[in-house]
């Protein structure tokens, strides 16, 4: 269970990182259409993966939709903790 969570999070991190690196590139190349389209494809994939993750393991961002009578945001693990 923990291993699955880690693997899904790793995939999210990799996808988001690809998107963010393109984000920086687009800051200085705002008209690069290929980069733009690639960016959105990564964002779309990230959204899909994050939905999966949050449903099973709790929020990654401040929750936008009600899904629990507990405020799960504070739950362990926090990102800096050894996991």
């Amino acid at each position: 269970m923990e291993l699955e969570r880690e693997q899904l999070l790793k995939e999210i991190m990799a996808t988001d990182f690809s998107a963010f690196d393109l984000h920086l590139y687009l800051d200085t190349h705002p008209c690069d259409q290929r980069a733009l389209m690639l960016y959105y494809s990564y964002v779309q994939k990230s959204g899909y993966l994050k939905n999966q993750y949050e449903r099973q393991y709790g929020p990654l961002n401040s929750p936008r939709f009600f899904n629990s009578y507990r405020w799960q945001w504070i739950d362990s693990p926090w990102p800096w903790e050894r996991q």
Binding site: L24, D27, T28, P30, S62, W78, R82
Partner: protein, 199 residues
């Protein structure tokens, strides 16, 4: 405005404590060429930049540096977690432990508390962007030094990631500088002087 995502930018999973390394790595938390200095520098300079590309890149790299700050803090935290006082002392962290226990405190490897004097926000876009290029090189060099000091792959892995990011930032700032220079030289187009003005 900032939004926090509850994850690190890149994983930090350190299995073996090493307070001696922590003493060196903290310099990228609160030292002169560290991530706090970088993020404050870029987030402060962005206000007075003349082109949107420069505003964008300073804003966004400044934001990424905060994520790096978090990573460096996590590395130091994991390297010193549960390390008893006498081991901290033997590793050279006796003074740090006295004042901060196992907390993370922004300072350099030599114990100098974080100081904004290590950065400038000059308001002159060329001066600022050239400083930023230098800042990225200094950070890259520091990460190389820290990598040389370590033999633990769990530590070297995130340090290597952080080093590579500095190289990418250097590239982006170079582009921003070129764009600013092009834009500034555009403004110097001379048009015919209005009649009546002496040459």
């Amino acid at each position: 405005m900032w939004v926090y995502e509850k994850r690190l930018e890149y994983p930090v999973k350190i299995k073996t404590c090493n307070p001696k390394m922590a003493k060196y790595i903290i310099t990228q938390y609160g030292g002169p060429d560290g991530e706090l200095a970088a993020s404050l520098r870029y987030l402060s300079q962005r206000f007075s930049m003349p082109t949107n590309e420069a505003k964008g890149i300073l804003n966004d790299v400044g934001t990424e540096e905060l994520a790096h700050l978090e990573m460096v803090g996590s590395i130091v935290y994991q390297l010193t977690k549960d390390v008893p006082a006498d081991v901290m002392e033997k590793a050279g962290l006796g003074a740090y432990y006295s004042d901060h226990d196992h907390a993370i405190y922004p300072m350099s490897a030599s114990g100098v508390p974080f100081n904004a004097a290590c950065l400038q926000s000059k308001g002159d876009p060329i001066a600022d962007l050239v400083e930023d290029l230098a800042a990225e090189q200094k950070a890259r060099a520091t990460y190389e030094n820290l990598i040389n000091l370590s033999d633990d792959p769990d530590v070297i892995d995130p340090l290597r990631f952080l080093r590579e990011r500095e190289i990418v930032h250097f590239q982006r700032f170079g582009e921003a500088l070129r764009i600013v220079q092009d834009r500034l030289s555009e403004k110097k187009h001379f048009v015919a002087k209005p009649p009546g003005n002496p040459d």
